[in-house]
Symmetry: C3
Subunit: 269 residues, 3 copies
């Protein structure tokens, strides 16, 4: 039985995880889309993680085995990178390395939808997407038309819980209020800024930060919530001084770097 | 017979198109080069459009059919993405979806020159390039050495008119003063800033904005002119406050977002 | 016998090379990783060079032959781009065009390590990497875990000298103090900022600037040192005004553009 609404994460553990990042410097192996690679790498560097983008099948399997965490994001997947993603996910699973699946635009496009469904077999520690994507991946919806989502995160709660049951991991649904669940514990993260949705790759970078956090946090739910809290607080700080969506992006990176205390995050049951 | 010099676009229609963008939120399917994907996506988001980069042949045909507009930019084309471009252009043409061809560096490189020539058969609503590229695509020149152009836009006017006759669409030539023609009506857009030429991908992002504008404007010529006017005015605003080419780019995105009135654009016959 | 420690570069020649760039506008053909293409292109534009990213095998051979210089960076290499790199390196060598090899993450990954070793046969004018990469390429170490390096540049001096002996060219090792050698002359470049290591692609962009500089400087050692000096001075200027790693990147591009005098660089024997 699900105990939805029980707040299962210790607030102090979020800040502990954040402060552990620079010392641990987790190597995050990213197989991600070409639109967002730069922002993703810079976001990882900003929080103290070490990014490495390796998506050639000849290299992905071995590299995933030595990484601290792996991110698989299907945003601009093609036949070559799909093979690299399969190898990296299997390699991470075999090594016990946590990996994150970001099912960008799954639902509307058969090729990536079938791939993402197959990748679930390697049991991602975290699935992170918007409501449309999570519902589509769980088989509960037809998916959105791209990376945007017209549904609220809570609309996907049942799908997220079902998906978590299938993977044995955490599912994080991004929205005005994010919903993060491991199937029994559900946590919501508020705050943030609408400018995140005006910045290409902010959600994708969040997926990479989830991977970094899960590598240092003992618990995937704590790691996922900490990453969402960090992104939201940094977005608020950046939005307070940005003149628009263009200047927001570098200021958000500055804030990701500067923020070392996550206790002000709007984390609720 | 050509009536060059007749100003065929209503100035008020430019602002109408600009203000229609956020509500319409046209889904712009971009098959574009990997150097400029981030700036392109952010420019589309800044004006209120919804970008989606999908360049796998298994997905491109279906996605182009549901998009509001399609951009094909051959800047870093390879054999795989060339096939995706063929499928997307045909699919857009079959669906009656407007699509834009950006023939980056066509002329000097046989592989992409043959591809761009073949793509013309799918009748792009707009071809957008610099003078060298447009002359090469029209068969009137040997092409430039890359994305830069040593010729003025008006040097390519005859080539642009000939090319428009071949596609039945609009041809836009970027330069210090841009020249936009549908073969019978020719419009010039002045202003802008030299900093646009110091920012990689500014021209490519313009091609994507043309696609977004054509999706919401009734008339491809109006849409193409509105996109050029919006880019030029935003560049002027950004150049006034930028400290150099690096800070110009985010400020240009801010200005693309903030500008809702295009009536100050230097649009002439 | 090696005369390490003899300062073999005329300080005035560095500024001469820098000021020659905008007039010469060398066309730099970049086959580089998809994470850093945007920053690389913008850095080249900032100093007055003309970037062109062409990595399709059908185009790379011919394009390298007409470029002023070629950059080969294996950061996100795959089977297709590896073939383009082989063709471009051979074509550059045959044409007498200087080319630069950036052996990103060589050592830990067999596919790219074998490729980089093979590419050395086309005798790059400059190899630029961090200490781990240079030691791995010279066969003296096991390589690092990615693009970061835990070794100081001087730890790789013997490897760099050996590698220079093998290529007949220059080897540049990036670090807190950079070490640049042609095997007989060794020059160190200090200064810079730790924020360069927090910006994805700063080192890769440096590799591209080395290519641009070598195209205009008579001597590869002078060109390589000038590029390192320019990057370091610009980083100092940007770090003085940046609020963090996010705002550093655009300010560094501004400073690359603004700096026309390299005489303040910390260039020593």
């Amino acid at each position: 039985m699900l105990a939805k609404g029980r707040h299962g994460v210790d607030a102090a553990a979020l800040t502990t995880a954040r402060q552990a990042l620079p010392g641990a410097a987790p190597l995050v192996h990213c197989l991600t889309n070409t639109v967002v690679q730069t922002l993703t790498a810079n976001a990882l560097l900003a929080v103290g993680a070490a990014p490495a983008m390796v998506d050639e099948p000849a290299e992905a399997e071995g590299f995933a085995a030595v990484a601290s965490a792996v991110l698989v994001n299907v945003g601009t997947v093609n036949r070559r990178t799909a093979e690299a993603m399969r190898l990296a996910a299997r390699s991470a699973a075999a090594a016990g390395t946590p990996w994150v699946l970001d099912p960008v635009a799954v639902g509307g496009l058969a090729f990536r939808t079938e791939l993402a469904d197959e990748l679930l077999g390697s049991r991602p520690a975290v699935v992170r997407g918007n409501a449309s994507e999570v519902m589509a991946l769980a088989g509960a919806g037809a998916g959105g038309r791209g990376v945007d989502s017209t549904a609220a995160a809570d609309d996907a709660l049942d799908a997220a819980v079902a998906l978590a049951g299938r993977t044995g991991g955490v599912v994080a649904v991004s929205g005005a209020v994010d919903v993060v669940t491991d199937g029994s514990r559900t946590v919501r993260v508020g705050g943030g800024s609408p400018l995140l949705t005006r910045t290409t790759g902010a959600g994708c970078a969040l997926g990479a930060l989830v991977a970094a956090y899960v590598a240092v946090a003992g618990d995937p739910l704590t790691g996922a919530v900490a990453a969402h809290a960090h992104v939201a607080l940094a977005a608020e700080a950046a939005a307070a001084v940005a003149a628009g969506p263009g200047t927001f992006a570098p200021l958000w990176l500055d804030a990701l770097d500067a923020l070392t205390d996550l206790s002000a995050a709007q984390v609720t049951a």
